[in-house]
Symmetry: C2
Subunit: 220 residues, 2 copies
Amino acid sequence: MKFSASKENHLKTIFHLQSEHGLVTTNALAAALQTRPASVTDMLKKLKEQKLLIYERYKGFKLSAEGKKAAVQVIRKHRLWEYFLVKKLQFGWDEVHEIAEELEHISSRKLVDRLDAFLGFPETDPHGDPIPDSQGRIQARRQLTLSELPLNKTAQVSGIASQTTEMLELLQYNHIRLGTRLEIRKKFPFDDSLEVKVRNRPPVTISARVAKNVLVNDEN
Amino acid sequence: MKFSASKENHLKTIFHLQSEHGLVTTNALAAALQTRPASVTDMLKKLKEQKLLIYERYKGFKLSAEGKKAAVQVIRKHRLWEYFLVKKLQFGWDEVHEIAEELEHISSRKLVDRLDAFLGFPETDPHGDPIPDSQGRIQARRQLTLSELPLNKTAQVSGIASQTTEMLELLQYNHIRLGTRLEIRKKFPFDDSLEVKVRNRPPVTISARVAKNVLVNDEN
DNA sequence: TTTTAGTTTTAGATTTGTCTAAAATTTAAT
DNA sequence: ATTAAATTTTAGACAAATCTAAAACTAAAA
């Protein structure tokens, strides 16, 4: 029940990838982990041996029930630590990801559960992503990407899919953050870029690349 | 300025050993780290190359100024996390050591300083050991071991030198913890064991081994 | 002061996670 | 349906940290 930091990273990333596209490919995982396909293949074999992965060579792969459980625990740890860093240590929401990448590998189960209680069992992390509970249950979210939001319909930013520092900085610059209310004023089919309006601000232009990574509320 | 977890453990342990006996020996370090002398030698060579260690083969070794600085930062992290675990997450003082052994290797300097501020810049950890400040300064302590305490002089437990779970459990069992006021009622020269009296409790017998690891206040 | 005992280091192996380069396999294109 | 291109895997290498067994060195005892 205890995995190396590298294994935890693989599990976590596979989890994220497969929740978008059912099966995951070696190349996609290598890109996401900033590593080489050959290295991924090596790890896949180990994960398969530990029955964490359903995998046949050349075929693509996905987590087993057990692998999913392990991945969710890592995600739980990551998001709880992010919440801690922002809410208790006054970090900005755009600077916690790297630190949480380290903290998420601390192994004590008891620590995680105590931290959860200390924080008051928060439901989402500072980026709006749901925090799995100690049983591994994840609050389902119905949210769409900014790309999918209809024209002139206001919505509230509820999450950021890709949390690179660069991306978060760009959003910060455009005054788009978690909870920001906004609407799309214009869509440019040429490159799928969007003109976005935030209250009390001049409109800003957002690339399709970015828009795909900004999640907004569905209802309302 | 960033070292592997293993290197940090070596630095930290050398620091502790050399503050008792000037020079440290390969065997002593191997014993303290629960590893083999040959493994220690390998690491010593690496530390020497990084100029963290003053070392000539077969001669014993000690930390350079740089090595000491690095070691103190690790100790700072360890003790701050212990304080956090006990004061914020309600862990018992006897169960935090192992978890802090992991947390102490998280690298962000900013995290450590923010944590320090969040905790209110505590001066000692839950075992009574002083916490280095962000400049690496350590509050000097004048304390002696229980073995050295004169007969019938009351004193207050201010620290535990060896923090194995086993040792802490034994002390817990005998109702001796940080802050406990006690006095020595009898000394048995045969094995240097002690009869110790804690207020409102029947006297208990403490071995020399344990007594050497219980630190008490000097003054008062 | 020589021998013996103990300590420390070297030599060589192992494990984990990574890499490059080449081979195997699958997918896409003509 | 072949060929070409892209993907994936294997084979072999490497770095870090550890180990065992043997050699080198030091200290202690006879």
